[in-house]
């Protein structure tokens, strides 16, 4: 099975032709093939006959909306990664998308680079997922510790005994972007909101990848070691590779929208 090579196929679902055109242009630029539909029902039809590597889906669609589409995929057992996008870009929509099974959330309008980095991550995600399923031992994915919680697949949090919360990036996320050239961290005392950009990773291809904050809170400390040795993130993503220590502000409420890592071990 050749997973790494071969032209990747993307399905674009949006009720506005200009958005489809824009995304397809970006996809073409990165040398991906694509297909597009104007609503979720025809997308489901298409998926049943053609295999896609990635789906980019609008939230507000005529008939079945983006969230219902995610539900339909899950019930059909289709695990093609989905990137959600919307013009109504609220934090609530972003968190709900990630909780409902989407791997990314990108607000409209997006720049070419923003969309390109998300698409590339999505393609890589799909590739890694296939490998994991095929029991290929060439790539080892370190699972998130059982007592941790994650937002989507990319970032994790762990509540410390003193009430502060550590957050970091999952091994899965790092694997979708590596190799990392540069890490950009926020300053201590800055306030993070759930699902807002917390860390910027610059990769060798010049793209910027954003990691979302798992919860809201103010930054108590940041892991300065990462700036000098970004490889820590890959070597020990769940302990020495932590990124921020936060004082959470709305932990109880926000935890409900997180996925316990214990559910990954079935």
């Amino acid at each position: 099975m050749n997973l790494a090579s071969g032209k990747k196929n993307i399905l674009i679902i949006d009720d506005e032709q200009v958005v489809i055109d824009s995304i397809s242009k970006i996809a073409k630029e990165s040398n991906f093939s694509f297909d597009s539909v104007l609503d979720a029902a025809s997308a489901l039809q298409k998926i049943s006959s053609i295999e896609f590597d990635l789906i980019i889906c609008d939230i507000m669609l005529p008939g079945m909306d983006g969230f219902q589409f995610l539900g339909a995929l899950e019930s059909k057992g289709i695990d093609t990664p989905v990137i959600m996008t919307t013009g109504y870009s609220t934090i609530e929509n972003a968190v709900k998308s990630l909780y409902s099974g989407a791997i990314e959330f990108i607000p409209k309008p997006f720049s070419i680079d923003e969309m390109t980095s998300v698409i590339k991550r999505g393609i890589k995600y799909n590739y890694l997922q296939r490998i994991r399923k095929s029991n290929d031992k060439s790539i080892l994915l370190v699972p998130c510790p059982a007592k941790y919680f994650r937002l989507g697949y990319s970032s994790w949090m762990n509540k410390d005994l003193d009430g502060s919360v550590l957050i970091g990036a999952t091994n899965f996320f790092i694997k979708t972007i590596e190799p990392i050239r540069k890490i950009e961290l926020l300053d201590v005392n800055e306030i993070l909101t759930q699902a807002s950009s917390a860390v910027k990773f610059e990769t060798e291809d010049g793209l910027i990848h954003q990691l979302y904050s798992v919860i809201s809170g103010s930054i108590l400390a940041r892991n300065e070691r990462l700036l000098k040795e970004p490889e820590l993130l890959e070597k020990d993503p769940y302990f020495d590779g932590w990124i921020y220590r936060l004082i959470p502000s709305e932990l109880e409420y926000e935890m409900k929208l997180l996925i316990p890592c214990s559910s990954d071990r079935t």
């Binding site: 919307t86 309008p109 997006f110 720049s111």
Partner: protein, 622 residues
């Protein structure tokens, strides 16, 4: 006519007055007449007696011409109607009126009737029965007459003339009559005087009642009705002024209170529905605009990549990309504005946030030829605040400034640091009694903040005192009457435990002091006799002055008239007519207040307006 309470009351009181004064006047006139008549009666009796005595001598001498002469002379007095002497047979033998002499009187005549009512004539007549009143003629004046019997005496029958035998008891009758014209005239005048007095009294009573009813009843009722109409018409800002201290004043006060509550509730309701619909609109707009923007951004970015060798085109395309990204930020701002999200506080640079707000209105300012002068304090510290909300505050104030200026003008923005003492600015938000019962009364506000409520006991009186929640401010409210002295007792309204400090005395007046625990912030102490303004909050005093960042936005616009300056922060107050929602400044006020800051305005009509915002520097993160 009788639908007015005042008219009803005046009618009833006037009728009562008419009745009372009428009865009084009637009896007054009657008694005055009686007194006058009695006086005349006394006088006439005296006269009659005098005539009898003075004629006695000439009678004894039997000088008849002389007697007639005397009677004629007496009769000449204008008050005397007639004087005559009758003999036993009823013949007039002497009279002031000469024609009467010799005339026989019937026994039934009014002068004879007193004695001859019975068949046998009376020989003795009591004095009170001698008087009679009769009409002289049909239209003539009333006349009072007195008959005086001339009794037979020894000197009479012993006289030389031998005119009278000894066995006769009564020799004749002296009849004196006096005209009552003067008396009647006086009685009549009295009647007229009495009537005039009665009329004046009744009208005066009516007038006085009318004046006071108008002031105490009519006016307040009219004001109440007017206020009700105003409120019914939707003017919930209407307040009844000049409240009296009676029941109507209390009613007015309750009315004002009710209107205020109604106003607050309806404003809250109105604001939330307005914000909700605004939110829906913004969401729709954001969604609709973001889709085409996606196309513009993607295609222009591609053109940018494709024309790397054409610097001229690159420059133009860069403008398109940059402006599209700016549009994205504006739409995002619209969404943030519509969603009244809880403040997401972070450390922000006020100058930077201001510049962000400026990008939205920069073009408008250029079109209107408005210059901007930035006078930023370079050493201004960062503050903890919600960047989006503060940006919204600046944006709103800038838009208002542009609207006020119109064309050609200047907007000056100045940032600075100010230090304010804790006294007069720090608000007591929590206070507990020694048993940790909450002392803050959210129902009673002083200066807009919930006050501290304590039970106060003084000289057997008991009530509540509300202490001003602003440290160092003394707008207390005392729920008991009379002055407060050193015997005062202050305690928790729930458990009655004293909050007086047993050790320390007031350093200013030596009186008792209270000491109330402020959770996590030490104790507040103050003079419990409230004779002076001594107050101490050591915890806060130790932290020193509070540092604020001040932002002044000054425009050279039309200014705000003084009479509406107090209203501009009220929701839905707008001078922009159809163009404004009237929410801007009230939302700003709410945001600044949420940040524990203050906003004030200073304006001169025709010269311009300055809005000053003060935000605390060290506002701890939630």
């Amino acid at each position: 006519m009788f639908k007015k309470i005042s008219i009803k009351l005046i009618t009833v009181v006037s009728a009562t007055a008419v009745l009372i004064i009428g009865v009084y006047s009637y009896y007054n006139i009657k008694s005055q007449g009686d007194v006058l008549q009695a006086e005349v009666e006394r006088h006439i009796n005296q006269l009659s007696e005098s005539v009898k005595n003075s004629t006695r001598y000439v009678m004894l001498l039997n000088q008849r011409e002389h007697l007639q002469e005397m009677i004629t002379r007496i009769g000449k007095d204008p008050n005397i109607y007639n004087v005559r002497i009758l003999n036993k047979e009823g013949a007039i033998i002497y009279s002031a009126v000469k024609d009467d002499i010799g005339r026989m009187l019937d026994k039934n005549a009014e002068s004879c009737y007193a004695c001859h009512a019975a068949n046998k004539p009376l020989e003795k007549l009591p004095i009170k029965d001698r008087t009679r009143i009769f009409k002289s003629s049909e239209n003539g004046p009333r006349v009072m007459g007195v008959i005086n019997p001339i009794d037979n005496e020894k000197s009479c029958y012993d006289a030389d003339c031998h005119a009278h035998p000894q066995n006769e008891k009564v020799l004749g009758v002296l009849d004196v009559t006096i005209s009552l014209a003067d008396v009647d005239e006086q009685i009549k005048q009295n009647e007229i005087r009495e009537l005039i007095f009665a009329l004046i009294s009744i009208s005066a009573i009516g007038l006085i009642i009318w004046i006071f009813l108008k002031r105490w009843l009519d006016k307040p009722v009219k004001e109440l009705v007017q206020a009700t109409d105003q409120v019914a018409a939707g003017n919930l800002n209407y307040i009844i002024k000049n409240l009296s201290n009676d029941e109507l004043g209390t009613l007015g006060k309750s009315f004002n209170n009710m209107t205020k509550k109604l106003d607050e509730t309806s404003q809250q309701l109105y604001q939330s529905t307005k914000m909700a619909s605004l939110g829906q609109l913004a969401a729709g707009v954001a969604h609709e605009i973001n889709n085409p923007l996606t196309g513009v951004l993607t295609y222009s970015s591609f053109l940018l990549k494709r024309t790397k060798d054409n610097p001229q085109m690159q420059e133009d395309l860069n403008v398109i990309v940059r402006e599209t990204i700016r549009s994205r930020e504006i739409v995002k701002g619209l969404l943030d504005f519509a969603r009244q999200s809880t403040p997401k506080k972070s450390t922000i640079d006020v100058g930077e946030i201001f510049n962000r707000a400026l990008t939205v209105v920069n073009n408008q300012m250029k079109i209107n030829k408005i210059a901007l002068i930035k006078d930023f304090d370079e050493s201004l510290p960062k503050i903890t605040a919600d960047a989006n909300q503060i940006q919204q505050v600046f944006l709103n104030l800038l838009v208002n400034a542009i609207d006020a200026i119109g064309d050609n003008g200047t907007i000056t923005v100045r940032t600075s640091q100010v230090n304010l003492p804790p006294k007069g600015t720090m608000q007591i938000k929590k206070a507990v009694c020694p048993k940790t019962h909450n002392l803050i009364d959210s129902e009673y506000k002083i200066g807009g903040f919930p006050a501290l409520r304590l039970k106060i006991k003084l000289n057997g009186n008991e009530g509540f005192v509300h202490i001003d929640p602003v440290y160092g401010s003394h707008r207390h409210y005392f729920g008991i009457s009379g002055g407060i002295n050193n015997n005062v007792k202050l305690s928790c309204p729930v458990c009655d435990l004293s909050v007086l400090d047993k050790v320390n005395k007031c350093p200013k007046c030596g009186g008792p002091t209270y000491k109330i625990q402020i959770p996590n912030q030490g104790y507040i102490e103050g003079c419990a006799a409230f004779k002076d303004d001594w107050q101490r909050w050591e915890f806060i005093d130790r932290t020193g002055e509070s540092k604020f960042v001040e932002i002044d936005i000054t425009d050279t616009g039309c200014g705000i008239p003084p009479e509406i300056q107090s209203k501009i922060f009220e929701p839905f107050f707008s001078t922009k007519g159809q163009r404004g929602t009237g929410l801007g400044l009230s939302v700003i006020w709410g945001i600044v207040d949420n940040h524990k800051g203050t906003i004030s305005v200073q304006s001169d009509v025709g010269k311009g307006t300055t809005f000053s915002i003060r935000l605390p520097q060290n506002e701890s993160v939630r």
